[in-house]
């Protein structure tokens, strides 16, 4: 199966086909289909959780769950799932595996420091400019970093896309550089798992060093 015309890789597909299908509907119906369609995944997820908590899967429980989920959705005015995210199964598997491994290794590392001279463990806060401009990817990266022992996000500058990450335990400049690399690697993992094609392209051509964002202030404090 060859694509008849070249277009942005991967991001087309199902989403576009669905959009074309919706376009064919009469106008008033289209609005409703869109309204319900974008909220469907969240309602489905809430229903699944309801069934898990309920304990057994029956038709009645499913219908009740869907009604409760829809009601909660409407009552809480939850936002629809943000667009601008793609789910890339391979990337998701990779980010889960790597974070689980990190969680384990750095917990052992932390345990060692707890038992062996905890007074000498030092920390550091580093500023790491992110390559992604997506709020959601930034939030995911921050969450992932905070989840893993040894790094914690203590602040972020959304306008310039800078994360301030506290690392612990560290010893010297070398471990500080390692922390910086880890932050960038975590970001890359999340972008490759959830980013759009544009996000991933930005990653490859991105800036690995601390360079001032265009029009922004240099995080290094270059301008006197």
């Amino acid at each position: 199966m060859t694509a008849p015309h070249p277009r942005a890789p991967r991001d087309s597909g199902v989403r576009e086909r669905l959009a074309r299908l919706v376009d064919r509907l009469p106008r008033p119906m289209r609005r409703w289909v869109l309204r319900i369609g974008v909220r469907m995944p969240m309602v489905a997820w809430l229903t699944v959780m309801w069934l898990i908590l309920w304990g057994d899967v029956t038709l009645g429980a499913t219908v009740a769950g869907a009604i409760v989920a829809t009601g909660c959705y409407a009552a809480a005015k939850l936002p629809r799932m943000p667009i601008g995210v793609r789910l890339r199964p391979l990337g998701i598997v990779r980010v889960v595996v790597v974070l689980a491994y990190d969680l384990l290794v750095s917990s052992v590392h932390m345990a060692w420091h707890v038992l062996h001279r905890p007074g000498r463990a030092r920390g550091a806060v580093v500023a790491v400019p992110l390559q992604t401009e997506s709020d959601l990817l930034m939030a995911m990266t921050a969450g992932g970093l905070t989840m893993v022992p040894g790094s914690m996000v203590v602040g972020l500058n959304r306008d310039e896309g800078v994360l301030y990450v506290h690392g612990f335990p560290l010893h010297d400049e070398r471990s500080v550089e390692k922390l910086r690399r880890d932050v960038r690697r975590t970001e890359e993992l999340f972008v490759r798992a959830f980013g759009t094609a544009a996000d991933i392209a930005g990653l490859n051509g991105g800036t690995p060093e601390r360079v001032p964002a265009p029009g922004g202030r240099g995080a290094d404090g270059g301008e006197g």
């Binding site: 898990i52 304990g55 345990a111 500023a127 989840m147």
Partner: protein
């Protein structure tokens, strides 16, 4: 002893050990951030290990899925708590700077403050 029993025998004590270490770290680390790291992260690993250890002893799959939810929500909420506490601690100046190798947040905040002062001066001069 079945395979499930072995999993329980390995993971339950391991999980308990991680939780214990988290608590010991809470007591022994010198500054607030160290304690925050120790209190939140190894505990998560401990909880997940305890859940893994308990799962084979439960015969009902429903309970296992519920435990999966417990682990998931722990993983989702813990970073929020840690980041919030960290942020508040920093804002209140509860952070021991002598324990830091570098603090680029402080550097950047100082820079912003300096710039704001400058622009304030400029605005005042303009008004005069």
């Amino acid at each position: 002893m079945s395979a499930g029993d072995i999993i329980t025998a390995v993971f339950l004590p391991l999980g308990a050990a991680f939780s214990l270490i988290g608590c010991v770290g809470l007591l022994r680390f010198p500054d607030l951030y160290g304690r925050l790291h120790a209190a939140t992260k190894p505990d998560t690993v401990g909880l997940i290990f305890i859940l893994i250890g308990a799962a084979p002893q439960l015969r009902s799959p429903g309970a296992m899925v519920a435990m999966l939810l417990v682990a998931m929500f722990q993983l989702m909420t813990m970073p929020v708590v840690a980041a919030t506490l960290g942020r508040v601690a920093y804002g209140r100046g509860e952070v021991d700077a002598s324990n830091m190798i570098v603090d680029e947040l402080a550097e950047d905040l100082r820079e912003v403050a300096a710039r704001d002062e400058e622009s304030d001066d400029g605005a005042e001069a303009g008004r005069r």
